[in-house]
Each structure stands twice: as C-alpha cells, then as structure tokens.
C-alpha cells in the first residue's frame, strides 16, 4: 500500500477530484506547458547533453554493424526494377562537374599505395585490361532513395591481391580530384565480392557526371562512402575519416 501516495483533505476534492487525480491532472498540464515551450524547438538537434550518449550509441552501432557484416551477404537488384539511367542522381562537391584534363594534369592514373608491397599507378586502359566484373545492383543513398544500375569494373579484392596488401592494413582511404572529397572504409567492406572500382555504368564508360574516369562502388556502403573521381586508393593501419564522416555522418555507413 505504501506504493500509493496517501491523500488528505484537499480543495480539489470539492470539485469531485481527489488529490491524486488533481495531482495527475496538474502533471499533465505541466507536461503540456513544457511541450508548448519545446515545440518551437522541434527539428532541433536535441539537447546538447545528449551528444555523449548519442556518440556512445554510434560507437555501439558500428560494433554491431561490423559484427553483422558477412562477405557472402549479397545485393541483388529486384528483377522487375527499372534501371535509373539518366535519372540516376549526379553528385559531386565541386562547383562544376569535375573533369580530368589530360592536357593540364597529364594522363589520369589511379594510384594504389599505402601498406602494399606492389604499389601501382594504373591508367584507364590498364584498368579495362584487368578481369572485368559486371553487376546489376541496387544503390542505397543515406537520404533514403535507391536506384538500380549495372556497374562495370574491377573487383577491389583483385587489385588488392595484385598490390599484395600487407596483413596489417585494416582501413582503405579512397581519395579524389573532386576538391578534397575522400572517404575511408574498413578493409572488410573494401574486400567484399561486390566492391568494384567502377569505370562503366549501364554498358557505357562512366559519364563525368557519375564519377569518370573511375569511382569506387559497393552496395555494402551508403552512397556517400563511394568516392567518385578517384585518384588514389591507400591501404592504411588507421581509419582516415572522410568528407561526410568528418561532418557528422556515420563513418561506417554500412548497408
């Protein structure tokens, strides 16, 4: 019985309410008042005091996501889905579509370096001579949309094998000539059998709007992790953040 607060005589009882009901109603009115103050604060980022809790939850989520990750979990685009084609959103951070100008900057080459025994600097022709993989994949954007395209390229696992990546490499950084855009990944996702260095989309060489000459693409990562306009792939012992990751989006960005 001690769980229930014992009432005594109270003015509210004359109104047909006992004290506890009165108390409960007052609490509701109070909560309503708090809400009406809080409402203009909606679409806020929430109380600052929660940021520690949120980052702890973020670290926990990354551990869960990495534990869930399976190399044999595959993306299959639904059979009936239409390819997005030209409706595929184009995206870059520079003011204009980044285009590599051979006359100014010399022949484009993709550098593969960092913790590798056989660094390489591959031209587009070198890439197209390597074993080719075509995958029809559904792409997932952090914003919530998805789009289907056929991706043509070289498995990153293939490039890693040729470069003889050190066993101590745990992370991979994908760098670009789209200003300073880059994103680093965990090596498990980078070596997933659907992670490609893409130079073709929907049967054609990549359009500059979609990241020409080459970009990384994997359905196990959200779009923002898949650096376009590639210049360099570095195998690293430590993670190296990324353009969106450094601004507050999840670094892992797994799907």
């Amino acid at each position: 019985m001690s769980k229930i607060w014992l009432p005594r005589g109270h003015a509210a009882e004359r109104l047909g309410l006992d004290r506890r009901t009165f108390l409960a109603a007052s609490a509701k009115i109070g909560a309503g008042a708090v809400m009406s103050v809080a409402l203009p604060g909606c679409d806020s980022e929430g109380p600052k005091s929660a940021s520690g809790l949120l980052s702890a939850a973020g670290r926990w989520n990354e551990r869960v996501e990495r534990a869930l990750f399976r190399h044999n979990a595959m993306n299959v685009a639904p059979a009936g889905a239409h390819a997005a084609g030209v409706k595929f959103p184009s995206y870059f951070i520079a003011d204009e579509v980044p285009v590599w100008n051979d006359a100014e900057r010399g022949t484009w080459r993709l550098e593969i370096g960092g913790m590798v025994r056989q660094p390489a600097r591959l031209t587009l022709a070198d890439l197209t001579r390597l074993p080719r993989t075509d995958l029809r994949l559904e792409h997932f954007c952090v914003e919530g949309w998805s789009a289907v395209a056929v991706r043509t390229g070289v498995l990153l696992a293939e490039l890693a094998q040729r470069a003889q990546v050190s066993a101590d490499a745990r992370y991979v950084d994908f760098q670009s000539f789209d200003d300073d855009y880059h994103e680093s990944w965990d090596i498990e996702s980078a070596l997933h059998p659907q992670t490609l260095i893409v130079y073709g989309q929907d049967g054609r060489l990549l359009d500059p709007a979609f990241g020409a000459p080459a970009r990384v693409y994997s359905p196990v990562k959200l779009g923002y992790k898949c650096t376009k306009y590639l210049t360099r792939i570095l195998f690293l012992a430590e993670r190296n953040g990324g353009y969106w990751s450094d601004q507050g989006y999840e670094w892992y960005g797994g799907v």
């Binding site: 769980k3 229930i4 939850a57 973020g58 979990a73 239409h82 949309w145 998805s146 289907v148 999840e250």
Partner: protein, 282 residues
C-alpha cells in the same frame, strides 16, 4: 471523520492498477516513440517519397511532399539518424522488458483477445455510438482497449522488422526481399509508424474523454474502481465526472438491458467492509 478513518476509506477504494514496471515502461515508450517518430520523419524528409529513381510508386499520394518540419526532430539528416539509431535500442529493450514482465507477472491475461472478442468489440462500439445504453461489463480493460493494447506490440514488431530491412538491405537481404524489397520495406515501416500514431491518438483521446481518472494509475499506480468508466457509464465526453462518495444515487447501469452480475458491476461501496486485499483487480 478522523484522518485515520478517511485514509482507511480511500485506501480500500484505491487499488494498485499498474505495476511500477508497467508505469516506467509506458513512459519510456512514450518518450522513445516521440523521438523515433520525429527523427524518422526528419530522415524521411530528405527523400519524402518511396519511388526508386526512374520509377513511380503506386501507393503514396504525397510523393515528394515534405512532412512539416515542426513534426520532425534531429535538426538535419545525420542528427536525426543518430537519434533514430540510438532510440531504437532504448525502445526495443524497453519493449522486451515490458513484454517479459507482463508475460511473467500475468498482465497479459488482461490484454490478449478473448474468445468472443469481435462481439465484445461490437458491443463497445455500439455503446460509444449511443446505440446501446449501458456500458458492457468489463474487467480491467474494455474490449476495445484490449484490442488496442494487444495490437500495439504487434505493430511495434512490424516496425522493428521493416526497420531492420531498411537498415541492412544487403546484410539482411533475404528479409528485405521477403518484404518486397527496399522500397516496400520503407513503405511498411512508414505504415507501421502511421498505425502507431493512430493507436496513440485514439488512446490519448479516450483517456481524456472517457477515463481521465486512469491518468493517476499510469503515474502513481493508484486507481479508484468506483470511478471506472463502467460504473460511470461513460462514453466520450459523457459522464466524465464520478459521482461523489456521498451521492445518494450512483449513475445506475441501464436497467432495461440484462446486466451481467459480478463484483465489478456492483454500485460503488460507500462504507466498504475492511477488505485486506487492496491490490487485487476488480
């Protein structure tokens, strides 16, 4: 009347309706749902549509129209995602504590639909529509409440399952495929949210218009059975005020219709016998 006698009278009328675990999980759920829905709508607003790029979507009339920002929470896409992926653990853990507790402690018996649930629901609806004069006999909850409180965890499970399918459409691709793919999983997740909102609105509306006395029971746990909607013969906005304990005539159940006899249909006891079990349910 001395204070001791007054306290005694109220003690015997007041029963512990909701266990502390139920009260805590109820309010954690309310907070968690508010965060989940607000942040979910903020995430939705960064692509307020369901169609895959290059396709159209059959079943959402507001493709491309954003949710009003005052209904959203999180400030920006990444902020809303952080809240969404943090509060999901709170809600799931809270839901498991609640379901585990009501299973072990027996409250599930007040919630699972009974054999004649459809008939009982029909009678409650008739009563609320004033097509029936007397309040159907009920236990702790009426048939509509039982149905709503039983549906809530089921809709919540649908929200969790569709949420997992959106969160990990590749790692959980068989699940996402089962729901019809990523686009449809997003749609089911959205519909589950709408169902939760509808249930919540119905619940809050009925609390304030039919049984405001139950507010106390979800805060302190105490509930005065003599003020139950059944004894007040209350439908929305009707017979809100309980008859005072000294009132000569309690709101009488309709005499024209057969009234099942039982302890809960007795008129309020003014001077109760010294009952030793105030925690028992009516």
């Amino acid at each position: 009347m001395g204070r001791a006698a007054a306290v005694f009278t109220i003690m015997t009328k007041t029963k512990l309706r909701h266990h502390l675990v139920v009260r805590i999980t109820h309010w954690v759920n309310a907070l968690g749902l508010a965060i989940m829905i607000g942040s979910g709508l903020r995430i939705f607003n960064s692509y307020p549509a369901f169609a895959r790029k290059g396709e159209s979507f059959c079943c959402y009339p507001f493709e491309g129209h954003k949710i009003p920002s005052w209904l959203t929470f999180g400030g920006w896409l990444a902020g809303a995602r952080h809240w969404h992926f943090a509060a999901m653990w709170l809600l799931v853990a809270n839901g498991l504590v609640y379901l585990g507790f009501i299973y072990l402690h027996g409250e599930w018996r007040d919630l699972v639909p009974r054999r004649h649930v459809l008939g009982e629901v029909a009678q409650m609806v008739k009563f609320y529509l004033a097509l029936r004069r007397d309040h159907p006999h009920q236990g702790k909850h009426n048939a509509l409440q039982r149905l709503a409180y039983f549906s809530m965890p089921i809709v919540a499970i649908a929200a969790v399952v569709s949420g997992l399918a959106i969160w990990k459409p590749v790692q959980f691709s068989p699940l996402t495929g089962l729901l019809g793919g990523f686009v449809w999983a997003r749609y089911w997740h959205f519909l589950a949210m709408l169902a939760l909102v509808a249930l919540t609105f119905g619940h809050v509306f009925m609390v304030f218009t039919v049984d405001p006395y139950s507010l106390r029971s979800i805060i302190t746990g105490g509930y005065d059975d003599s003020k139950s909607p059944e004894l007040r013969n209350a439908r929305p906005f009707v017979h809100l005020r309980a008859a005072s304990a000294t009132s000569p005539a309690p709101p009488a159940p309709d005499t024209g219709a057969p009234q099942p006899q039982g302890p809960a249909s007795d008129p309020p006891v003014v001077d109760p016998p010294p009952v030793k079990d105030p925690g028992g349910k009516a």
